[in-house]
Symmetry: C2
Subunit: 113 residues, 2 copies
């Protein structure tokens, strides 16, 4: 279970970036780079946390949370440079979709770990 | 890979409901009921699609997409009745979090299947 800094989430509104992807065969390169990216994200102003889950067939959903749209935009520019340097996203994913969303309401049940 | 009706997504704005959960031990009951719920969701006005991924340890993210907030709200009332009848959400999840978000921008790479 991957939930990073997720206990810090404030009351809405804040921003959630939904990244849906099908991983390519090149799993090792992907995994190393994504971990580096998450480490880098955690250093950014306005970063609130990340959670992700992935099916055994390689389809996964990663949601990162940001205090403002500006915080995510600043991060996305750093991420693009990182991805370009790490030899190109085309090699990591068969496809991906990125959706920038504004969290309006939130509910929970039970105690997140 | 679970992506249901996801090819029908329109241009933003639309709504994304992010459901993060840790599944309880009662896996069979959960699985049957969730499949019934997704079948029911697909019949609702304003339903655009669902995607979900789950780690082997039971942590998963399900995102359902809706044309309007009203469409999701109407569905959530049906879903609550369904869950109550299907013997209580507490038995399916160790915890869950639900976030209602408004999709503001979307990008993609490659061809979703």
């Amino acid at each position: 279970m991957t939930r990073i800094y997720i206990d810090k989430l404030p009351e809405p509104p804040y921003y959630a970036v939904i990244f849906s992807s099908k991983r390519s065969q090149n799993e090792k390169a992907y995994r190393d780079s994504i971990n580096d990216m998450l480490t880098l994200a955690a250093e950014q102003p306005g970063y609130l946390g990340t959670e992700r889950a992935r099916d055994p067939d390689g389809f996964g959903i990663t949601v990162s949370y940001w205090s403002t749209l500006e915080a995510f935009t600043a991060w996305s520019q750093i991420a693009e440079t990182f991805i370009a340097r790490a030899s190109g996203k085309e090699k990591w994913f068969d496809f991906y979709e990125l959706r920038i969303t504004r969290v309006e309401r939130a509910f929970s049940m039970g105690r997140p770990r």
